[in-house]
């Protein structure tokens, strides 16, 4: 080490009070208990008193608010960003910025895809009567000759949006069922 010929290290640490570590640690434990309680026990209580259901969307929003609070405590105090040089804070925030771009542009695509495109061709009659096919293909049994998004499986050149690898990967035995009598009659 001494062959670097530099001066002896004289860095002076910024020692933080022990009470900070205890307070932040306690807050993290309390918030953990809170997130478990809001997810596992609160919905039953609310239902018991008000007969109202906590929808999954509300549950996720509550869980995320608590998670972000915990994350802020860890980043701010344990990772010292609250006391740190502005450069380190700016670096951290630039990461958050690019992460949000990642989310924003991906979701701008996946949340706005036009479901009607799947209704265009080759849809069996029985499928057309279902109002929510393409968005929830896992809830619909596919029929012979169609993938479970209702697109003809012999069309290998243009896979539907959900069958990303193309229809050649389609395993007919997995998802096909006998065509219903009504569908046969329609054909």
């Amino acid at each position: 080490m001494s062959d670097h010929h530099g001066p002896e290290s004289d860095h002076h640490p910024h020692v933080l009070p022990m009470t900070m570590y205890i307070a932040v640690g306690t807050a993290l434990f309390v918030l953990t208990a809170l997130t478990v309680w809001t997810a596992k026990f609160m919905p039953e209580m609310i239902f018991h008193f008000t007969k109202m259901q906590v929808t999954p969307t509300i549950a996720i929003i509550i869980a995320l608010i608590i998670a972000f609070t915990k994350a802020a405590l860890v980043c701010g105090f344990f990772m010292h960003l609250h006391y740190d040089k502005p450069l380190n804070r700016a670096t951290f925030l630039s990461g958050i910025f690019f992460l949000s771009l990642f989310f924003l542009f991906t979701l701008a695509d996946t949340l706005t895809r036009d479901d009607k495109v799947y209704l265009r061709e080759g849809m069996p009659e029985s499928f057309k009567t279902l109002t929510e096919i393409p968005h929830k293909p896992h809830m619909v049994k596919a029929m012979a000759g169609y993938c479970h998004h209702g697109v003809k499986t012999d069309d290998k050149v243009h896979p539907c949006h959900y069958c990303t690898t193309g229809h050649e990967d389609f395993k007919e035995s997995d998802t096909t069922v006998e065509a219903t009598p009504e569908a046969k009659a329609a054909e």
Binding site: E8, L16, A39, P56, S94, L99, T106
Partner: protein, 219 residues
Amino acid sequence: MSSKVDTNKFIPRFVSHHFSNADQEFESCKLGMWLFLLTEFMLFGGIFVAYVVFRTWYPETFESGAEKLDWKMGAVNTVILITSSVTMAVAIREVQLNRKGRALALLLFTVLCGMGFLVVKYFEYNHKFELGIFPGDFFSFMGDHMSNEHLYFSIYFMATATHVLHVILGLLAILWVSWRTAKGEFYEAYYTPVEMVGLYWHLVDLIWIFLFPLLYLTK
């Protein structure tokens, strides 16, 4: 050679020749570490984006999948990781105050917590595998499930296994700084590696803070 540090307890550290002073050396290391942590944000960001995309498409699948996880085990692991994060942060404080013995004890306790996390995770994985719950094509669960539930477990195993990999690397890093602390290489004027390993360990905690509610608690 006159030294500012008690050379019976600690090995004096000299500033590397390409830095003008100790503060500059410390701050440069820290900035570099933060840049590395940003790449970690992006790595896990990809997994979280996959989670959000598929969750918005197939909410029922995710609710059904989350029901198959044991939230109590997840909660125990959350408590273990937060405890280890606290002890890691306090260990750095002890190094800053030249208390070698205490720092070493806290670092080793942090390692113990991390190993506890891995043990709980082992039992969780083992239980899933016994039930035939594997990611992707290997999903062979025979009980009640959605037809595309392998999707949920692909994300579950990808996210938790990547996180476990980080826990293991973090533990090795903590053992490395423990060894150097025991040798007396770290004291108030030089503790950069402990600080950086601490930042890494907090990142591991940070990721779990999001994984736990999103994977275990959403039903």
